[in-house]
């Protein structure tokens, strides 16, 4: 069989995503994994416009549009109301961008995860407010130029490191936390299969590459996504019931190689790149240490 992922589609063609949109692939894979009996709640984000204007829908599952900060709360309400009606077999999915997750929606997300509803929260992370025209978010990485962190004469790119929401979710003790990218759909689908075995909140952060906002040609979306993993910039991990497992890429590359493909990093000098490489190394060490710690039998 040449098919490494399910062939059934729940996202129809004819949507209005940009050329080479990573967020669209993320949705396509998530629905392949979860299937027809799924309800998706989407806040203000690229995905609020990707289906197209009324009367169009692009998903073959119900999609609830919500205000920006409402994803976590809306999936809480959906979950409980469906359970009351005996629809426990419905998958309830929040599908929000990084702004809607790391910034304006963090409180709502954290509340929903803490209350422990049986829901999935997929953060499609394109590292900025892409739908509004590429502004900086808390999830934008160090060094990136955005329209609100223009380089200008002062070399005024984003000076802070990425707020990694998956790490926050791990710290909060969410029963299932994972990271994934669109370059490895088999891995994402496997993670969703693992996640659905857990009755409780599940959080997956999917790096969703964005040619429009990261300034690379659209055909490179999967390649950039792959390099994000191979360079260690976006490590893939799975945190399940307190145990962390970090994927070791079969091939590794330097951070420079990942950065050099994207216009948003084109202003960085050797010093900046070295600093980023150092940060990536440190974060990987931290994750591997945590992996070792959590593998130990508990008290």
């Amino acid at each position: 069989m040449p098919f490494s992922i399910p062939t059934e589609e729940f996202m129809e063609p004819g949507h209005t995503a940009c050329h080479g949109c990573g967020a669209t692939l993320a949705m396509r894979y998530v629905l392949k994994a979860l299937g027809k009996n799924t309800v998706v709640s989407v806040p203000a984000s690229c995905w609020a416009v990707i289906p197209g204007a009324m009367p169009y829908r692009t998903l073959d599952v119900p999609m609830v549009y919500t205000p920006f900060a409402a994803t976590g709360a809306s999936i809480s309400g959906l979950r409980e109301a469906l359970d009351i009606q005996g629809k426990e077999d419905y998958n309830v999915v929040g599908f929000a961008g990084d702004g809607g997750t790391a910034d304006i929606g963090l409180q709502s997300l954290s509340g929903a995860m803490e209350r422990g509803h049986n829901v999935f929260y997929i953060m499609y992370d394109n590292e900025g407010y892409m739908n509004t025209g590429v502004q900086r978010s808390g999830s934008t990485p160090y060094g990136a130029e955005t329209t609100t962190t223009p380089v200008g004469k002062e070399r005024n790119f984003k000076r802070q490191n990425k707020k990694v929401v998956a790490d926050i979710m791990m710290a909060q003790g969410v029963p299932y936390v994972a990271t994934a990218t669109i370059a490895y759909p088999e891995d994402l689908i496997r993670k969703l299969d693992n996640a659905r075995k857990i009755h409780g909140p599940k959080f997956i952060q999917v790096l969703a590459t964005c040619p429009t906002g990261w300034y690379y040609p659209p055909e490179k979306s999967v390649e950039v996504s792959r390099l994000a993993v191979q360079s260690g910039v976006f490590p893939l991990y799975e945190f399940q019931n307190g145990v962390l497992r970090v994927s070791k890429p079969s091939k590794t590359v330097e951070v420079r190689e990942y950065l050099s493909m994207q216009g948003r990093f084109s202003h960085l000098n050797d010093e900046d790149i070295a600093q980023l490489q150092e940060y990536v190394n440190q974060r990987m060490t931290m994750l591997l240490e945590k992996e070792k710690d959590t593998a130990k039998p508990g008290p």
Binding site: P62, T66, A73, S76, A81, Q85
Partner: protein
Amino acid sequence: MQSAQRKYNAILTGNDAVAVGAKLARVGFISAYPITPQTTIVEKLAEMVANREIQARYVEVESEHSALAATFASELAGIRSYTATSSHGLLYMHEMLHWTAGMRLPVVMSVVNRALGPPWNIWTEQTDTMNQKDTGWMQVYCESNQEALDTILMGYRIAESEKVMLPLMSMEDAFVLSHTSEPVSIPDQEEVDGFLPPLDLKFRIDTNNPMGYGSYSTPDGPFMELKKDMIESMKNSKNTIREVTRNFAEAFGRDYSGLIEEYAMDDADYALIASGTLASTGKYVVGKMREAGRKVGLIRLRFFRPFPDEEIVKATKNLKGVGVLDRSVSYGSSGSIANEVKSSLYEKSSIPVTGFVAGLGGRDVRIEEFEKMFDYIEKGKTGNYFIGDREGN
């Protein structure tokens, strides 16, 4: 009016009364965030859920925005849903108010009217809900704990009417109703079930019928038509309100007479329009003045949305002057109710209208201040007056 043909069978605070109302309405989903003076409503409901007196899920969210977001989503999944808030909490919900109404979801919410800071002030004032008048929610201002209970039952019936399909907020004055006990007649569950059928949301979420709920529209899309439909439905809701209050009177013996209540208006020359518990004091003053031979009356505004413009025109037709009492402020303009009354009367009546702003931050509006307002109305003083401040107005 409100002659309780049924015997009182309980003594309840306003907040307990609305919790009982939500229970009798068989709400299946409750989500709320604490704020004084709303908290005892949801505490009571949480207790009912814990004791299985009510078949509902209670979701303790982390903000009011989330409270209404969860309530919105649950209603969309087809479950009759309820929330309650007050003051700053209501303001924090503002975005979700528009969203819920725009999605045409018949949620009912209790709001305890409380002042807005700074400075912090937990006492009653209507600026919080007046700020929400353009959100597409119906608004009812209750005068008694009984009315607060009954309005939850009528509220769901009105909101869920196929001709309406808009959410409704029912108000109680902070502390004056919310925390004050009054005798109340609690109807039997069976009677309520006969009056209020289960929710049957036609467009509830169903994976066999995938749709985009909310979607987006370009200027050439149906955006204006959808808004027009909301305007029409809000207008049509007036008939539904009249019909439902009539049905309620038949079923339970308490007649709330539609969108407004007229008190001693039959041969009145002058009247004051008031809402909430200020209307109660107003009625008392009217009674006293009537004894002194002055032909005054009171119009109690129950609904502010939809605005009862026809009722106001009709009720003021034979008056020589009318005053409007607002317990809210709109900086740079007159009182919100006064503005709407004037707009309703424009080209339909030439009676002078006097605007009053009083009772802000829960300050008592005293009998002599009501008398002063009637004096102003009788003297034909038009314009707007700030009543009861320390400068002696």
